[in-house]
Symmetry: C2
DNA sequence: TCCTTATCTTTACATCGTCAAGATTAGGTA
DNA sequence: TACCTAATCTTGACGATGTAAAGATAAGGA
């Protein structure tokens, strides 16, 4: 596609889109109509984040570049810099959004559960369901190396995710889990639950579980395998 | 560092390094000494893979580029193309090497174990030990999206890794695990073991377990947490 | 000895992240 | 209201990357 990088700003007008035509825009003639594409966007930061989410869903992790996001939002390639600093900044803010979506999905799944077994399975199921529905977002959150957890939004969202996990483990073990002190068994339980579901999800998204699924009784889905993994009895005298 | 990309090939002479000096090499005068830097490397493929491993250890995943590998090996930036096709090819061959190292480490750890408990813990411990010792390599194997499993070397090495896991699970369960048919419980056991250790390793390498480790009894190491995670009794009536 | 082919270099191109400088406008201040 | 500072956005440039094409060089068989 010829789509030259230096083409005039094709941002779509937000309101009063009428009478906005035949604008060759030779160099930059503004202050007249004002309805076409204002120099100042007004809410570019949010627009960029939404554009990034679209690009991520459309082109995957590899296609998510600063310039692609700027193109998708219809601004110049350097516009994101002012709002996010650099690529790490954009990815971090996007990851924060992902964590919030993620937490919300697990919380609502948890609320809908009634029996103890349902409650125990609700979070893991919601976990992999979110990852399968938004693999790009999950990759931003857990696969990328370029994340800056010193950013408050990301730090808070990730912290909330961890707190939700710890809380769920506490509920299952029917004991209070303190904020700043964990027993060995408590830490082990949290690490086990997190590792299990996170590892399963990574392997699933990477297609590494297909070998297993193919060799299992036909019709075995990933969700069924997850359920079996979480509930199947352990062999005697064997810790894992 | 001025290190111009077009500087004359600085490959170090392999043997007979004497009498190889004062070579301004104005344009390309070869066929005379032959001891300096032959146009044909002779074993460039292996040299590139070793260079890639060095670059990976030195500069991490982000620094591992085709051109950096070529520089490290002292050849032109397009030389790797002929041997690996593209970046995916190089990464895939490197990942295959990683899987072989990985399998060897786990196998030897397994052989050294005597008691059943040791045998059960030997593989997981060797798994995270390898990942901690070679985080770059582990990243190539499990974090990169650019891997081509249709390459025979990578396919075989990854398959061997999986077979080793399935075999270990079979030993622990004291049952034969067939090549092409898995019961639900067998598949669940394999998925559980793999997910647990893989997830734990990813979280550990990403620094996401530090929050947990800090809050646990002081002196708790990652290895201790792993051990507890694998052996701590599960709470009653709770599957996870 | 010659010639085909594999190997390696050179050159070029599109794309990327990032920086610096300029253009434009919003919003407070007189 | 008029101005002015600062925020916002664009333009242009730079070095780095992956990849393709074309040329140079040497290896190995005919």
């Amino acid at each position: 596609m010829g789509k030259s990088e230096t083409a005039p700003n094709p941002r779509t007008p937000k309101k009063a889109s009428s009478a906005a035509k035949a604008q060759a825009r030779p160099a930059r003639r503004r202050t007249a109509t004002r309805t076409e594409t204002p120099y100042h966007h007004g809410a570019l930061r949010e627009a960029l984040l939404q554009a990034a989410e679209r690009v991520l869903e459309r082109d995957g992790l590899a296609g998510l570049t600063l310039r692609a996001v700027a193109r998708e939002a219809g601004v110049s390639h350097a516009a994101p810099t002012h709002h996010f600093g650099d690529l790490t900044g954009l990815l971090s803010e996007l990851a924060a959004i992902g964590f919030r979506q993620f937490n919300a999905a697990m919380a609502s799944a948890c609320d809908a559960a009634t029996t103890p077994l349902e409650r125990a399975l609700a979070r893991p199921k919601a976990y992999i369901a979110y990852a399968q529905a938004h693999p790009g977002m999950y990759g931003i959150m857990f696969r990328t190396e370029r994340l800056d957890y010193s950013r408050p939004s990301l730090h808070e969202a990730a912290e909330a995710s961890f707190a939700g996990l710890a809380n769920a483990i506490g509920m299952m073990r029917q004991e209070q889990i303190s904020e700043d002190a964990l027993t060995l068994n408590q830490g082990a339980a949290i690490a086990r639950a997190w590792s299990l579901v996170h590892g399963f999800t990574m392997l699933l998204l990477d297609g590494r579980l297909e070998d297993i699924l193919e060799r299992m009784p036909e019709g075995t889905t990933a969700e069924r395998l997850l359920e079996a993994m979480l509930t199947a009895p352990l062999a005697p005298n064997i810790p894992v």
